[in-house]
Symmetry: C2
């Protein structure tokens, strides 16, 4: 007789215990029973990659609980044990790993143990996967923590996790080392969105183009705009611009302070004979860079804000204040196939793969 | 001999005195000399419509300066005189009207006095106009304040203003009373953007559809989606939904708490046989409504956030958290022809015109 499955909600609302009627992420407690629903996947966890801000805060709380100095290294054996105890306790009491102080989670790496008959993805038992949804909404059950690497916020465990029908994941490739793949997947949404937006012949400005996601975006934009288009990589630091230049991802490189709107406008205007950008993609991790991106773009063009430092009101009121008719898109970390698109860059560009291996893997 | 004009920057950067190199809005002081540059327009001001939050704060400061109780009405003669003095002082010392406590401005109504030869708009001397750019960036010179109406934040003056080449304005129509026109122009961007986005046959959800901009958006969306499409007006208050219903701007009306994502999702799912919205437009003026709008929209659909209560990070991380591949647009208060598009609604819909006259004019 075939196994019977309970019918699950695509967003995992069926797992929410407290308070009822909210989504799993804002929920205080979720059901971490490891009997899967019809549209769920069960994963044997290898490693939890705790969000960096979250790990730092947990280690700090561990020292407070121990009554020891906060400057004690996170690798101190007593701190490690207390950190483990806090992580185990969070998961035991809430059924997931949402840091009670920062609200953030992280992601995990593991192996598919069971796939519900109505799960719509392409996973099969034995696949090695990284979940790309936050641990703050992922049902977890931990038996024990086997190792902890405070320097890189990683926690090896014996335990299992549930992936909802709408939960994002990436099957980890055989040909790319795990840490290199994870470092790229961390910013997977941005280059995949760039691929959706940029068209042949366009002029694309990438603000913050010398950073990790900036380099991937420049690469993808250059591929999409082709020989008739132009990619302008803008970064606030000479060394970041040099790094982007070393992997040859743009047609022009500019050092400029993204928060100085007039400087950005003048430099982009000069490089484009006053025509300005068709598309500006902003991944600058400092505040007040909205107006520079808006001014760098011509009327009817598009500004894509991908930085978490973006202020909605500054962008909205800024565009109106200068009478600029641009479409302004908010970065959505997810677009279909984003993991595959981004991992492919590491195969296509030997230069970027070497650079990322050196910097992040 | 023809009059000679100095060449001005489109954004008015040539008028910035302190600090140099910024845009007029963030500037502390702008040049309010009433000799126009080649691309500027001079306006004889009739009325300043001070931003409501700004006016309230100025009146409060007036009472503090007078050492009188803050509960004194803003219409008290002493308060009125002190309010006038503060407004005159702001303009005299900074050359514009940027409230030093709130940072906000307002707009003005007046008559075109002179048009520079290189101004690209369609204004001519004698046109009655409303400027739609903030007073916080508009060079002003005031001779005197002739009247003040604290109940509606209006200040009649003798004075002049400068409109930059990129400055937004609307020529006030002969056939619509001034206050009615101004109340609609206040939210002009939203319905014009709705017209750009919505396509025949689409299902459009308007969150906050019972408010002023919500009703205009519903009307425009219904016009664009046509008989094969469907507009669903969602509002948190029965009386707002009833108001929208009374002017017949939607196909379905729903009372729902926009901040309850699961409730919104369930109701929209039910009304669309699980297909969800092609486009969701959010003009809800309370926080935490991002997720409900995202869940109400199907994959590859679009969410248009038009409310200043929108949080960039909540929207960006929210969409990723539930693996939803939607385009998320940020409201730009300006799109070409936005004033004309919005005023035309008041001519097309007798019902909306009567409602707005009753409520706002």
């Amino acid at each position: 007789m075939a196994k019977e499955f309970k019918k699950g909600d695509p967003y995992g609302i069926h797992r929410v215990l407290e308070p009822k009627g909210v989504l799993p992420q804002p929920a205080d407690k979720v059901d971490n029973d490891m009997e899967i629903y019809d549209n769920e996947v069960k994963i044997d966890i290898k490693t939890l990659n705790i969000d960096s801000a979250s790990f730092t805060e947990i280690a700090r709380q561990a020292k407070i609980q121990l009554g020891i100095d906060e400057s004690t290294p996170n690798t101190d054996p007593k701190v490690v044990e207390q950190t483990k105890a806090i992580i185990m306790n969070i998961v035991e009491t809430t059924g997931k790993h949402k840091n009670p102080w920062t609200g953030s989670g992280g992601m995990l790496v593991g192996t598919v143990a069971e796939v519900g008959p109505n799960f719509k993805g392409d996973l099969k038992v034995g696949d090695k996967v990284a979940t790309l949804v936050s641990l703050s909404l992922t049902p977890l059950k931990l038996e024990k923590i086997t190792d902890i690497r405070p320097e890189i916020d990683q926690v090896d465990v014996v335990g299992q996790a549930i992936l909802f029908e709408t939960g994002l994941y990436a099957v980890l490739p055989e040909d790319i080392p795990e840490n290199l793949a994870l470092s790229a997947l961390d910013v997977a949404g941005a280059p995949a969105q760039a691929a959706k937006i940029c068209r042949p012949g366009q002029t694309v400005v990438v603000m913050g183009g010398g950073g990790k996601s900036g380099i991937l975006i420049c690469y993808m934009a250059k591929k999409m705009v082709g020989v008739t288009g132009k990619v302008i990589c803008v970064d606030g630091f000479q060394r970041s611009v040099d790094r982007a230049k070393s992997v040859n991802v743009a047609d022009e490189y500019v050092v400029a302070d993204a928060s100085n709107a007039v400087e950005v406008y003048n430099k982009i205007s000069e490089l484009t004979d006053g025509k300005l950008a068709d598309v500006t993609i902003n991944v600058v991790n400092i505040p007040n860079t909205e107006m520079g991106s808006i001014l760098a773009t011509h009327d009817d063009g598009m500004v894509y804000f991908f930085s978490m430092a973006t202020s909605f009101t500054k962008a909205a009121l800024g565009a109106e204040g200068v009478g600029k008719d641009v479409d302004m898109l908010m970065g959505n970390g997810y677009t279909k196939g984003h993991a595959a698109v981004t991992l492919e860059i590491l195969r296509e560009s030997k230069a970027i793969r070497e650079l990322f291996t050196e910097l992040y893997a």
